[in-house]
Every structure is written in C-alpha cells, then in structure tokens.
C-alpha cells in the first residue's frame, strides 16, 4: 500500500495480497449483503513500481472484480485504470454501457495517463467489449485497445507471453464451480417471493379451515409450503448443478424434468398414504415451481441470449401458470371433498 509519486501527481499503490476481510467481503456480496455498495474508487492505481513502459490494465469499480485482478498481479509492475461502473462487474457494466467508450476516454484524460506512460496500449478485459468501441477509443485518445483474457487467472500467462491470448482464454465457460458460486445469488433473489408465498399459504389455511383445530390448520398449510420449498431447491440448486446433463435446451424444460422426477420419487417413497388428489396436485405443482426457478437461472449463465430467453418465457410462463392453477384446484377440491 501507500503512494507513488509521478509526474502527474500521486497514485495509490495497491497490494496483491487477499486478506481474510477481502475473502469475507466476497462471500458476503454473493449472499446479497450490501452487494450494490461493494466498490473501489474509479481512477488510476499502481501495482509494484510501474514506470513509463509498464502495461495498463483496465477494470471496473466492483471490489470483487478488483480483488480478483490484483491477486493475479503479484510481483509485477503495472498500472490499473478503474472505470466508474458503480460497483458493477465488467460484463454487466459493459452491457449497461457504464463500462463504456466515453467513460474510458474521459478516465484516460482525467488521470493524465498519456503523460504517465510512453506506450499507447490499453489491456481491456474481453468481457468489456460489449461497452467499448476499440476504434473510437483509438481515434479519440491515440490508445490502442487490446482485448485481454476473459478471466483474471489467465493474466499472468498472457503478460508473460507478450500479450498473446490463447483460444481457450477467449471462451466463456460455465463449469460446475462457476455454477456453484452463483447458487446463493439465486436463493437470495427468491427469498422475498418465498416469504410472501409462505405467509400467504399460512394465512389462507388458517382462515379457510376455521372450524378445525389450530394444529391441523397449521399442518394443512405446512404441506404446500414444503412442496413450494422443495420446488425452489430443485429449481435453484439441483437444476443448476446438473444443468449440462439434463436433456433439452430450454431451462424451464430442464427444470420441469427435475421437478417431475423428484415429485415421482417423493410419491414412491412417502406417498402410500396420500390422497389421490394430493398425488395429482404434486405432479403438477412441483414441475411448475421447479421450471420457474430454473428459468430464472438463465441470467446467471454465460450462454443464453435475450431472444432465446424471450422466446422461452413466452412459451413456458403460460404453461407454468396453467400447471400451478390445475395443481392448486385439484388439491383444494380434494381437501374439501
């Protein structure tokens, strides 16, 4: 840490060590704790003792991004140019345009970068490309944009090989670990809806079954709650983990299969004493809930398109609603009969 003096003012030096509090911070934002305020200030930073020939890496003002970047730069002398993305990661910010051509041009001029370095090359993460027009940056500032690897972990090899990118560094991936770290994000997004639904079920069952004892009212309400939460876990945890191995391309279809299979399993294991109506209702409701949460996982992935998701939603949402209505009606009728 500390500062280094340059011809155009002081520049903050950052460490390449990740401390326990950095790790805790990363864990907290993935669970949605203060996620939108996990930022570093925009501007220029130094790693090591950078000089006029040192490479310039461009990044975003999300601290999780910044930490992953500086961790890979141990023992190197580089400049880091952080764009103001308001605590959003490079890819999402590029899509929104905050990690954008204009911001990059302004940040170059604002930080005095042209007098600080003798070369005219910027290394921009490939995932920043949706927001940056390389030819316009070049026209406005004289700096040439070179798109570096997608993942910070590939930066040491990229820098050691004279800024050469291998085809593997250029490809988005979505392996099991990538999917696992995103599951908390899904669960956090679902908890508000879950709280509303569960309270609604409790209130409804308490009011509708006035003439029963409080205990049996509660246990009647508990069943649909467990069904819903089961569907949530199947759609937001199990489907994402098994994603590549479930047949089909549409997420709702993948989720519906997992839901149907788990409903059938539940019936086989525990259903011998259940009413027919409950069994039928379960076969409709669980696949619908699982399909819904699986559909929601599209936004966490690296391979879905806007047009594809729109098409899937237009087909899947009416079917999900229909299955839910059928299930709830069958269950209610069975209960009252």
């Amino acid at each position: 840490m500390g500062w280094i003096e340059t011809g155009s003012g002081r520049v903050a030096r950052v460490s390449t060590d990740i401390t326990l509090s950095d790790r805790l911070g990363g864990w907290r934002v993935r669970w949605g704790i203060n996620r939108m305020h996990y930022t570093v200030g925009a501007g220029l930073y130094a790693v090591g003792e950078p000089g006029s020939q040192s490479p310039v890496l461009v990044s975003a003002s999300y601290k999780l991004t910044f930490d992953q970047l500086r961790r890979e730069l141990a023992g190197r002398d580089v400049w880091l140019l952080v764009l103001e993305t308001f605590g959003i990661n490079v890819w999402c910010a590029a899509g929104k345009g905050t990690f954008g051509t204009l911001e990059l041009i302004n940040r170059i001029n604002h930080t005095g970068l042209p007098t600080l370095v003798a070369h005219r090359t910027l290394i921009v993460p490939q995932l920043g490309a949706p927001g940056i027009a390389a030819h316009e940056v070049n026209k406005a500032t004289g700096f040439k944009v070179r798109y570096g690897p997608i993942r910070a972990e590939d930066l040491p090899e990229f820098l050691d090989r004279g800024m050469k990118v291998t085809p593997a560094m250029r490809r988005a991936r979505f392996n099991l670990r990538d999917r696992l770290v995103l599951i908390p994000v899904e669960l956090v997004q679902a908890w508000k809806l879950s709280l509303i639904l569960c309270s609604l079920i409790l209130v409804l069952s308490t009011v509708a079954l006035r003439n029963l004892s409080l205990a049996s009212r509660f246990s009647t309400g508990l069943a649909p709650m467990i069904v819903y939460l089961g569907g949530l876990v199947m759609g937001s945890v199990v489907t994402p983990i098994l994603l590549p191995w479930i047949p089909g391309r549409a997420f709702s279809l993948k989720g519906a299969q997992v839901g149907l299979l788990s409903a059938i399993l539940a019936i086989l294991v525990m259903g011998s004493t259940w009413k027919e109506a409950d069994v039928v209702a379960l076969l409709f409701v669980v696949p619908a809930v699982t399909a819904y949460f699986a559909l929601n996982f599209t936004g966490c992935t690296t391979f879905t398109s806007l047009s594809g998701v729109e098409k899937e939603m237009r087909i899947a949402l009416p079917m999900i609603i229909l299955a839910l209505v059928v299930g709830v009606v069958v269950w209610t009728v069975g209960m009252l009969a």
Partner: protein, 95 residues
C-alpha cells in the same frame, strides 16, 4: 455434456460485403461465433451467439448488427413491465 441454448433465435446479422477482414469480431466474441477466412469474416456458429453486442460495437465498418441485451429472465420480466409503463422499447439489462 453440452451447454447450448435454443436454436435459430438470435438476431445476429453479418454483411460479408461490408467486412474488411480486420478480425475484431473474432477477438471479442466469447463463443467463437466468427472466423475470418480469406480476408472475410463468416458466421461459423451463429446459434452460440448470446447477443452481447461486442462484435457490433467493435466492428469499424458496421458490418455486424444485433439487437443486444441480456439473456436473463428476470431482466426480460422487468423490461416487459417497464415497456407497459413507458410505452417504449426497453432493452433488458442487469439490475
């Protein structure tokens, strides 16, 4: 094991007549949609496109066009509501 999304849905278009063969699209695409062959870019895997818009933004001769946005059900859902309120087209983005 394959992670591929729906076929024949993306809006990506490449005008090979306009292409200058600079290869920028091959550098920015995260799914290997483009390849340059004999000085002209071609779409070699159009269905892998996620409509992020990086190729169109970085094409100096505007040979590539795509309606860009995010493939996220939550964002699409929000954009449907916003469209109803504002009466205009809203491109879905991350929150």
């Amino acid at each position: 094991m394959s992670l591929r999304y729906l076929k024949d849905v993306v809006t990506l278009q490449l005008d090979e007549e306009k292409c200058s063969g600079c290869g920028m699209c091959t550098q920015v695409c995260v799914h290997g949609v483009f390849a340059v062959n004999k000085g002209v870019a071609h779409l070699v895997d159009r269905d892998a496109c996620i409509e992020c818009g990086a190729c169109a933004r970085n094409c100096p001769v505007e040979a590539v066009s795509v309606r860009s946005g995010v493939g996220c059900a939550y964002a699409v859902w929000k954009s449907w509501f916003r469209r109803r309120k504002q009466g205009g087209e809203v491109s879905p983005a991350c929150s």
